[in-house]
Symmetry: C2
Subunit: 212 residues, 2 copies
């Protein structure tokens, strides 16, 4: 493919999973070809945006005759999941939120492999989360040296995240799924951070309901 | 304030909670005045964007001499939380994710009042989630008629969300915090939907780690 992935903007990247989900459904429903306007209708956008988005990745085939669903799914899947190799991942924080989001890491479909869970609470150590062992946070250094995780999921409060994130970066973590309010990307501009700020999401819904 | 809130774009709205959090911290730290460039540095943006964002809401005071922290916090708080009245809310789905996100609804700080939780599983009925009772989903109609919730949080799979969302709209729900992959805003264009698609968030992190 003759695209330059380095230049793809974040909003386009953030739409890829949605394309992937919709096109998976079409494939399951036996659809073989799809036009940009059909995709646009499903996505709640315009055909021109769909074509523009796809052009960031080389276009995915001849748009005049419609896109081939199998090819689209394969190509978008390859962008999202590489050649199938999973990203070795640790979860920090085994509270309610950590327990809930671990599901997204342990399913086969998202491209991650959850190696271990860490928590500060001694009473959780030795327990497991769907079969993944919970370690004490003090074991972080030895575990990372041995198992080389690349991604850390932060399900802990702001102060805990502030304290731990430098250690994680030093230990080779290059991607964060960050549920805390600590803004990692400012002190560590070279790591990739995906923020999942649920409180912010809820507050902005409140704004829209109160002011629309 | 002489602003026209109807025209504020979604990206600006989505930044409001972050401003609110940062400015709260400044207030706690005893900061009295703040310039747009100081705010920009904390937010990881530019001073010009900060001023542009604030101008959507009337500007929040004289930027030449810096913004007054108390005024900023009060005004942004009023936009996010109104005059303090909480939005009556129900949660549909008492699984792991529902249990985790209920915390965001039961804290005092986000502007919601969680009235009840609903689930299809008979064995959960009569239990509670941090003191909020779990009802069977069949009680939805009678509960909503009596208590008039305005917001529904959907922590259930796509098919369940597809099935229930029309009922909820008919029952007067006008805002959704949607964790399911069902795309509510297409069948119900008049409701306000805030999607929290955690799987998509994780996949787009994967893209960035694999292709950057």
């Amino acid at each position: 493919m003759n695209h330059s992935q380095g230049k793809v903007s974040l909003p386009v990247i953030k739409r890829l999973p949605k394309y992937y989900r919709y096109i998976s459904q079409m494939q399951q429903n036996g659809v073989v070809k799809v036009s940009s306007s059909e995709l646009a209708r499903m996505m709640g956008t315009t055909a021109s945006q769909v074509r523009q988005d796809f052009n960031c990745f080389g276009g995915f085939g001849q748009q005049g005759i419609g896109y081939n669903v199998d090819v689209l799914l394969h190509e978008i899947g390859r962008l999202l999941f590489g050649e199938g190799e999973k990203l070795p991942t640790i979860l920090v924080g085994a509270g309610r939120l950590g327990r809930a989001v671990s599901r997204f890491l342990t399913t086969d479909t998202n491209g991650y492999h959850l190696l271990a869970v860490f928590d500060v609470q001694q009473e959780l150590v030795g327990q497991d989360l769907d079969g993944i062992p919970i370690h004490h946070i003090d074991e972080l250094e030895s575990f990372c040296a041995a198992h080389k995780p690349q991604v850390a999921v932060l399900c802990l409060p702001r102060e805990g995240a502030k304290e731990i994130s430098g250690r994680l970066v030093d230990l080779g973590i290059r991607g964060f799924w960050n549920f805390s309010h600590y803004d990692l990307s400012i002190p560590y501009p070279n790591v990739t951070v995906e923020n999942a700020h649920l409180g912010d999401s809820l507050m902005s819904l409140g704004y829209r309901l109160r002011n629309d």
